[in-house]
Each structure stands twice: as C-alpha cells, then as structure tokens.
Amino acid sequence: MLTITDLSVAYGPIEVLKGVSLEVAEGAIVALIGGNGAGKTTTLNTISGLLRPVRGEIRFAGARVDGTPPERIVAAGIAQVPEGRKVFRNLTVHECLLMGGLVRRDRAGVAADVERMYGLFPRLRERHRQLAGTLSGGEQQMLAFGRALVARPRLLLLDEPSMGLAPKIVADIARLIADIRRDGMTILLVEQNAAMALALADRGYVLEAGRIVLEADAKSLLEDERVKRAYLGL
C-alpha cells in the first residue's frame, strides 16, 4: 500500500535520511525501530507531506505522493498520530476530534465518527468540553488516536505511541492498536519500545543514523542478537 524508495531528507545542509526504502503491505502493521535521532519521525513527517524529500519517491496506493501538501495527503487517506500526542492544548476535546475530520466533506459522517470515538473512548465523552491540555497523558494519547481516526484513514502512522506512558496504559495502547488493525487498518508504527512494537508488528525495519540497517519479519527481529543488545536491553 505504501512504498518508499531511496528516500533522502535534509534539514539545511544536514542529511537526516540517507536513502531509506521500505514497504507497508495493505492490512499489515510495520514497525520502524531505532534510537533517538535515527530519523524515524523525519520519515513519518515526510510521508505526511510536512517535509519535502531531496531524493527518492513515496507511493501510496500506486500514486506518487512525495512533495504533495499535507492536506492532500490526509485527504488521500494517510493520518498521523504524532510524537508526544500534540493535541491542541487550548481546544476542547470535542474540537480536537472535529479537527480530525477537517478535510472530509461529509459533516454528518464526521459527526457520526466523533460519536464512534466517544463509544471507543468513554473517557473522552466524559471530558468532551474540557480543554485538551488538561487531560492526562493517557487520555491525550486516546484523543490523538481518536483525532486521527476521525479522518477515516486507510493508513495510520503512529509515532511513539508508548512514549511517557505508564506500563498499564502502554498495554492499553497496544491492545488498541491490535484492535484497530483487526478492523482492517494498515499501520506504520514508529517505536523506541522495540519489544512492544515488534510484538505487534508483522514486519520490522531498524533505522540507524538515517539508514535502514536491518529488515525482517518481526518475529525474527525479536530474536536478532543485535536488536536484543541495542534496543531490548537484554
């Protein structure tokens, strides 16, 4: 569904991605793991159209999307749950969810989907008039998921969904990702929590200093000695 070929991205003179290629098959969860600064977020932001690549191409459902403005990307069916949640702190929970459906034409459909999110996350319904900035970390992550899902994406980009969350909540998030996938969503998951990511994923890529250094199905990556030493702390 998503094919990235030889992608290079630079901030000014400094190249952050150096020829990354990866593929996400329809209906799959693909994990992209690596240390801080390896270029994981840069990869997602380039797919989302926030950054323009220097080289390489990105194809989504057959069409080239690199260099396309972000609003077209989200309309084409790629939504992102950004790193650190990035909820709009001074907007209410309800407004944040509505923001997810900004590019959709059917107002009624958006309203129905927001309602669906309230069903999925009852905590959000309780707090729908509260400012998003006042929610707890876990609730903000739910809101970020809900906001992305209201966009009705075909591909969901998740950037470190476990970051800064208590283990119990991380487990909830993992269950949620599994549930979403069961409903037929394709997911590209960026994680530093490699164990969690590889447990959920079908396939995994390891990014180091802007380059893919390993790629294999998730199970075998979990067994890989290098991965174990570098990312699992075992």
């Binding site: 989302s48 609003e71 989200v74 990035k86 702190r89 509505l98 923001m99 906001r147 966009a151």
Partner: protein
C-alpha cells in the same frame, strides 16, 4: 464624583475601548497566525474611514449597510496586501524584524497615497443620527455612541462565534497553537494566513468606519489608535477574548484617568498600567516564540568579517575610507554636509541599537527616549550648570546609561511583549519630558543651546561639525567593535543564538543583556547630546515613538548584527527622504515602497551586499 458622571465616563470609555479592541484584534490575529506585528493595521482603519465616507456621501446607503460593505472592502484590501507584499517576504522565512519594517513601509506608503487621493485635510462625516441624546439608565447617550457600541460589540460577538463554533474558526485556533500538527490534519497554512489578514483588515476597516463619525476621516486617523490598540492586545495576552476585554478596559482606564486624575498624566497612567500588567503577568511566557532576529543573516563571527584575516586588505580599507572622508569634507557643499551630519549623529545612536537588537536579539522600540535623555542632559548641564561641552557629552552618555539601567527590568520580557514594553517605556519618558516643566521647560522645549566650544573656541561651521561628529562616530565604532569581538561580545551573540545553551555555559544571560542595553543607551545619549548642540533647539516632540521606529529601520536596512551596516543603514534611511525631495507628494509613497522592496529582495540588509562584494573581490584577487 457623582454616579451619573462616573457612568458617563465609563460609557464613553467603553465606546473608545470598542475601537481599541477591534484594532487590537487585528494585531492579535496576525500576531498569532504569523508572529508578525502589522504596522499597517492603522492604515486599514484609515481606509475604512475614507471608504465609509465615500460610500455614505455617494450612495446614500444606511450606516449599517455601509459598515458591512466597508468591512468587506477593507478585508479584500488586506488579502491583496498579503498576497502581493507580505506573502513573498513570509515565504523567504525572513526574520520577523524584516516583516515588521515591510509593514512599516506599507503604512507610510498607504498614508501618502491617501493624501494624494483624499487630500491632506480631515473631512467630517455627514450627520448620521439625530443629535438629541437618548436616555439610557439615566445617562445621556448619543444615538451615534449607541451605534458604535452596538456595532463594535456585535462584530466582536460575531468573531467570537466564528472562532468558537465554525470549523474554519476552530482550525484557525488549532493552527495558531501548533501549525505543524494542524497541517497534518489539513489546515493549509497559506490559506489560513490569508484568512487572518482578511479578518484583521476587515475589523480594522470596521473600526475606521466606527470612529470616523466621532473623530473625522483623515489620513492619520489610524495612527492615533494603533499604539493603544496594540497595548489592548498585550493586556489581553493577544488572545481573542482577552484583546476584546483588554481594549474595553484600556478605554475605561484612560477616560477615568483623564476625568478623575489629570489629563497631563493620563497617558503616563495608561502606559504605566500597561507596563505593570506586562511585568506581572507575562514573565512566564518570556522564552516562548520565535526570536525576532531569527533567520537573519547576522554577523556572528569574525570569519565573515571584512576587516580580519588580511592586514593589508584592512589597511587598504581604512585608507580608502579616510580618503573618501577627506574628499567629502573638502568637496561637499553646505547642504550635503548638513544632512550628512544629521545622518551621522543618528548613526551613533544606531550603533548602540545595533548592539541591543542585532547582537543581543532584544527588541527596542524606545531607543529615541535615551537619545532624548542625552540631549536634555547635555543641554541642562551646559546651560544650567555651566558644564563645558567636552564634559557634558560623556556625562550625557552616562545619564542615558543610567536611564537604561533603570528600565532594564523590562528586558526580562521577550519578543512582542518586550516590544510593547519598550514602546510604553519610550512614551513614558517622552511624557515626563513634557510634564517635568521645571526641568525641561515642557512642551516649549529649550532653545539657544550653546554651540560646542573647546577652551573658548566655538565650533560653528558645518565642516567643523562634520569633523567632530565623524570623530565621535569613529570612536564609538571602535569601542563597539572591540566590545563585540571579545568574550563579552561572544556571550551576547551566544545569548541571542541560544539562551539555554548560553546559560548552561555559565553566561549570566540577564546581566549580559542589561549591560548591552546600558551601553546601547549610552551611545544614544552621546548622539542625543551632539544633536542638541548641533540643532540648538530641543523639544519632547523630537524623541517620539516614530524616531525610535526610524532607528530600528536603520538597523534592519543596514543589516542586523553588523556595525558598519548600522552606519550605512543610518546614512541610507536618513538621506533617502532628502534625495527624494524632488518627488513632492509622491516622496513618501516611493520611500515606503522602497522599504518594502528592500525587505523583499535584500533581507540581509546593506551589510549583506557589502559582504558578498567583498568575498567576490577576494576571490578575484586570489
């Protein structure tokens, strides 16, 4: 005071406050969407007042209809200006200061155009409503005031509804909080900016058509409200509801101050209240936001400097400069010397501002205040105490430095809050010059200031002044050059570049900023002293906000963070209007237009051209 009168004052304060709120909203919206202070906001008010007048007199439409049409028309003008002028500059990721100067150019050009189209003289609106007062809650109220209050509050309510309850409004708020994440969900940044300018211009125009029946339509109408309107925004933290309430509060405060205390001190009270509010409430947000000089091609290190590296080249440059100086001294006529002298005096003050703005990255809209302090100090020292000129000038510098130290606590603020705080500080200083009549002779000013004299020999000729002024300038330049290439200078640049990292390296950021500010003030003081003895007459009017703005323009045109750039910028900005004299009415249109073009195509300032030329020359020779 009886309750009746009090009610009257409050009502009147609310009416003018409505206007502050609307214009302030324009500032707040553009500030939040683009981080830009739009000086041309006042000209939207002016356009609103004139377009409204034209519609009323030619079409005979009712006032409410004209009000709506004007808002739409001026909104369209706003979009047009954004598209043609501001967007190209925004797209270049130019530093905010450059954008600010571009809007200043726009403001100057639009005012001058308005003079050409609608004339110099103010025009009264036709009578719109009966003069018979209406009694509301026992107060005599003019129908006009009710209309203004009603329409003003109506617009604010509509805007509030728009931002709270429409998807466009919600997405605007989201984007103003976090543009990158909002883009992820489909907010087109450009469209959002265009929308912002449309709304800002429309409310500005609406404000114009509201105040013009009270105050007449004139090309300068916007000018009188923008400072207060900006203050309204600052009081409200540049939030939407906050600015609305801030404007209303400001209107009431100043009307009560004039009615109850003294109108001499009305604005002192208003600006002091503003300073207190800023200092108390806005310190925590101090480090937020993009720095005003970010993105500027500032000189930070000596590798890109013209003078260092090659001694022979440096000697050549100095010799060339000296030859040019001598040739000018010998060949220039009186008028050329005169305007050059004035420009060089400005250059001395601008070098000080360069240290504050260019090197330290602090915003100052109050530099002319220290220039004024220096002028008054030297004048009073020589005239009242008989201090000789050669002593009075350095003492004037010291007095200005002391004044700089006194107001240094405002430097804890940053970005736009610092801008408005320095503006308020400058206004207060000017008002004190007006009101401390026993010392400054108030509005009359002081005339008959003695010429510079050295042991009985009086300096009178333009040539003599040229030698004196350029000598002081050279000295100030040398001192500042040493200052900026030292441990101290590096620490200033470090604070500007990255305050967090600078402090983690052991640099006392606040103290360095204050020191730079004090040194900068001293330069302004010395310049002011020379000015006083050169022009022989000073009055508070010479040290206004506009003079401060002009100095900032000189710094930006010259190139941020470049001392030679500061001098060249001062010369260019001071001499340009003189050179354009032949254009008569079109002079300021061209001047404003040039400012805009300059910011579009030469964002690095004149220093950048110099640097490029120098590098090119070096390459040719190598």
């Amino acid at each position: 005071m009886d309750i009746q009168t009090l009610g009257q004052l409050v009502l009147s304060g609310l009416t003018i406050g409505c206007v502050y709120s609307l214009v302030g909203l324009g500032f707040a919206l553009t500030l939040r969407a683009t981080e830009l202070i739009n000086f041309a906001q006042g000209e939207m008010v002016m356009l609103g007042s004139f377009i409204g007048l034209t519609l009323l007199t030619t079409t005979g439409l009712p006032y409410a209809a004209v009000f709506v049409l004007v808002a739409i028309a001026v909104g369209l003008v706003g979009v047009l200006l954004e598209r043609t002028i501001l967007r190209p500059i925004l797209d270049r990721r130019a530093p905010l200061l450059n954008l600010l100067i571009a809007t200043l150019g726009l403001s100057i050009a639009l005012q001058a155009l308005a003079i050409i189209v609608w004339g110099r003289e103010p025009v009264a609106y036709p009578r719109l409503f009966s003069d018979e007062p209406v009694m509301v809650l026992g107060l005599r109220v003019q129908a006009l005031n009710l209309w203004i209050l009603g329409l003003g509050l109506g617009v604010m309510a509509a805007l509030h509804w728009f931002f709270q309850h429409t998807m466009t409004g919600v997405s605007w708020r989201a984007a103003s909080l976090d543009p990158a994440t909002a883009a992820l969900f489909g907010v087109n940044r450009r469209r959002n900016v265009a929308l912002t300018f449309a709304i800002s211009a429309a409310v500005g125009g609406a404000a114009g058509v509201l105040i013009a029946p009270l105050f007449f339509a004139s090309f300068g109408i916007g000018h009188s409200v923008i400072v207060k309107a900006f203050a309204a925004g600052a009081i409200g933290g540049f939030g939407i509801v906050g600015t609305m309430l801030g404007g209303l509060a400001l209107g009431v405060i100043e009307t009560l101050a004039a009615g109850i205390v003294s109108s001499d001190y009305k604005n002192v009270i208003t600006y002091s209240a503003l300073l207190v509010i800023l200092m108390v409430f806005y310190r925590p947000t101090a480090r937020a936001g993009r720095s005003i000089t970010e993105g500027a091609k500032v000189v930070a290190s000596d590798v890109v400097d013209l003078m260092s590296g090659d001694r022979r080249r440096a000697a050549l440059l100095v010799a060339g400069g000296a030859a040019l100086w001598l040739a000018f001294l010998l060949l220039a006529d009186t008028y050329a010397l005169r305007i050059t002298n004035m420009a060089l005096i400005a250059a001395i003050a601008v070098l000080g501002l360069q240290l504050v703005v260019g090197y330290t990255g602090q915003f100052s809209f109050g530099h002319a205040a220290f220039y004024g302090v220096g002028a008054y100090a030297s004048t009073l020292l020589t005239m009242k105490l008989g201090v000789p000129f050669v002593l009075a000038v350095p003492l004037a510098g010291a007095t200005a430095a002391l004044a700089g130290l006194l107001v240094a606590p405002v430097l804890r603020l940053s970005g736009h809050f610092l801008a408005i705080a320095t503006l308020a500080m400058g206004e207060i200083v000017q008002l004190l010059m007006l009101n401390w009549k026993w010392l400054t002779n108030g509005a009359y000013g002081i005339y008959g200031i003695p010429l510079p004299s050295f042991a009985g020999w009086e300096l009178e000729s333009e040539e003599g002044f040229f030698v004196l002024i350029s000598g002081v300038l050279a000295l100030v330049y040398l001192l500042l050059r040493r200052l900026t290439r030292s441990r101290f200078g590096r620490s200033l640049v470090a604070v500007r570049e990255n305050e967090l990292a600078a402090m983690s390296s052991g640099i006392r950021a606040d103290r360095q900023k204050i020191t730079a500010f004090v040194v900068g003030s001293a330069c302004a003081g010395v310049a002011g002293a020379l000015y006083a003895h050169y022009i022989a007459y000073i009055s508070p009017e010479s040290f206004s906000f506009l003079a401060s703005v002009q100095m900032v323009t000189m710094v930006v045109i010259g190139g941020l963070g470049s001392l030679p750039g500061g001098i060249v910028g001062a010369l260019a900005v001071a001499l340009l209007p003189e050179m354009l004299r032949a254009l008569a009415d079109y002079r300021l249109v061209v001047y404003g237009g040039l400012l805009i073009l300059f910011m579009m195509f030469l964002p690095g300032g004149l220093a950048d051209i110099g640097r490029r030329a120098w590098r090119l020359a070096a390459r040719v020779r190598a």
